[in-house]
């Protein structure tokens, strides 16, 4: 760390640990997806890891900050622990599940962090590269699926564990968000990674459509066992 001034707030320059995400073969629009997912989650108050744009060797990159403590990494959550997570964090699990359905995140699997036994309550999703424009390999096909009334997320660690009433409430809450906020989360003034400005606008429109349909998408699929009774 390095002290910047002797001012009353005594600021320091420092280095902190983060996970750097860039566009890659598996997620060609991964950097943009990460940025938009964080913006949306913060707008909607859904618990996911914070992060910020940076660059790697002149290319856009997204630095996802560690959840909980910058120096220590919590253990990976195993499948046999999902029930304990859903029991300890019912509201957060409902928020994250509804959010994943909203952004078409097909890659939640083990991509979340949770403390399970100590007094520290820490829960948050990580890794959103395989959502939004990368629901499919081609962005145009991803947009088409987001505009449809498809569930998209057919497998999720909290299906059958999340409480139906909470999930329904979160669907309503996301659906009630101001459309201008959703648009602003998607739009940047410049291209981000491989995503040009016009594609950002198309994603905004697709998400507005999905936002309106989200309560119905979840309601229809509640009959399938995605939520616990």
């Amino acid at each position: 760390m390095r002290q910047l001034s002797k001012g009353s707030t005594r600021p320091f320059a420092c280095s902190i640990n983060a996970v750097l995400k860039c566009d890659c073969d598996e997620a060609p629009q991964g950097t943009y997806n990460e940025l938009v997912a964080v913006r949306l989650a913060q707008t909607l108050h859904v618990p996911i890891a914070n992060g910020l744009m940076t660059d790697r060797g002149g290319e856009d990159a997204f630095a996802s900050l560690h959840i909980g403590h910058s120096d220590v990494k919590l253990p990976p959550i195993k499948q046999y622990q999902h029930r304990a997570v859903a029991y300890r964090y019912p509201e957060e699990v409902a928020a994250l599940t509804a959010f994943d359905i909203f952004i078409g995140n097909v890659d939640r699997h083990q991509n979340f962090i949770a403390s399970l036994v100590t007094a520290y309550l820490i829960f948050g999703g990580i890794d959103h590269g395989m959502s939004l424009l990368n629901v499919e390999t081609e962005p145009t096909r991803s947009l088409a699926r987001l505009r449809s009334r498809e569930l998209i997320v057919n497998h999720h660690p909290f299906y059958q564990l999340v409480e139906g009433a909470r999930l329904t409430a979160w669907a309503a809450r996301i659906s009630a968000a101001d459309p201008r906020d959703i648009q602003e989360c998607c739009r940047c003034t410049t291209p981000v990674g491989s995503v040009p400005v016009n594609l950002q606008q198309e994603l905004a429109e697709a998400l507005l459509s999905r936002q309106r349909q989200l309560p119905e998408i979840i309601s229809i699929n509640l009959r399938r066992p995605i939520a616990a009774t």
């Binding site: 390095r2 253990p75 036994v117 100590t118």
Partner: protein
């Protein structure tokens, strides 16, 4: 009845994944389609005291909860995956690839006599593999250092920072980062910087510590970060050969052996020169 031969894995804490210097903190013993785990500070299955781990890892006390989360995770892993030993061993080995702060290494094979309860074997194995880490000279040094710091109320000093990184950005030159175990950077008044130099270690490791401390103090002094009278080396009893090196360090800093009876008063005089 014949004795059983059982695999065991050593669980290590690796703070710096690049240097890969692991500290043994636990053992996982494989029985017949079952696994048992025992870790440093473990009181029982549900309770773990993080203090012994914090002493050997030198993490701040605020990180104790994360150790407790990991210990529970290893227990649950053993309980849920122990019936498939190969699968469990693979999961343990994957921790290293995942950049986890805790990794596992195959420890070898241990013989368990038919009449012997596995819990006894597990604890004996733990004593052999881990016990020394927690109770050796390092443990004693840290314990003594902790007591000294507590009696000086160092952690309550305004601006106290543990494991501080100090980054210098000299104009036209590459950035330089110096690490110190303790720093007191009060809102007003001079900074105090500490380095630790252990003597109960190999000659090479000792010389590396001396060089590192000398370089750090010289650099901080040259760049106006701290003056010689506020630079402190905390060390311990040393052989005559090593005393020569410590004397060399005294040209950059106060050298205080925490074994000395007057360590407390020496430090108090340095920290509060106006006090009687």
């Amino acid at each position: 009845m014949t004795a059983d031969h059982n695999d065991f894995f050593i669980i290590q804490y690796v703070r710096d994944i690049i240097r890969q210097e692991g500290r043994n903190i636990g053992v996982m013993l494989f029985l017949d389609r079952e696994a048992r785990f025992y870790a440093l500070g473990q009181v029982d299955r549900q309770t773990t005291d993080p203090e012994p781990f914090l002493a050997v890892s030198r993490l701040p006390s605020s990180a104790g909860w994360f150790y407790q989360e990991w210990i529970n995770w290893f227990h649950e892993l053993a309980e849920n995956e122990g019936c498939e030993p190969i699968n469990l061993q693979n999961q343990l080995l994957e921790l290293d690839e995942q950049g986890s702060p805790f990794i596992a290494k195959a420890g070898g094979v241990i013989t368990i006599e038919p009449e012997e309860p596995p819990e006894i074997t597990l604890k004996e194995l733990f004593q052999q593999v881990v016990g020394k880490s927690g109770k050796g000279t390092k443990g004693e040094f840290l314990s003594r250092l902790g007591a000294l710091m507590a009696s000086l109320n160092l952690r309550q000093e305004p601006g106290f920072v543990e494991d501080a990184e100090i980054e210098f950005l000299p104009v036209g030159q590459p950035a330089v980062t110096l690490r110190v175990p303790f720093l007191i950077d009060p809102p007003s008044g001079p900074r105090t910087v500490f380095k630790i130099v252990r003597t109960k270690t190999s000659a090479d490791a000792f010389l590396r510590q001396v060089s590192d401390a000398a370089h750090a103090f010289r650099y901080m002094s040259d760049h106006g970060f701290a003056t010689r009278d506020r630079c402190i080396v905390l060390t311990e009893r040393a052989s005559n050969e090593k005393l020569t090196q410590l004397e060399y360090l005294s040209s950059f800093a106060h050298v205080v052996s925490i074994n000395d009876a007057n360590a407390f008063s020496s430090l108090e005089r340095i920290l509060k020169p106006s006090s009687p």
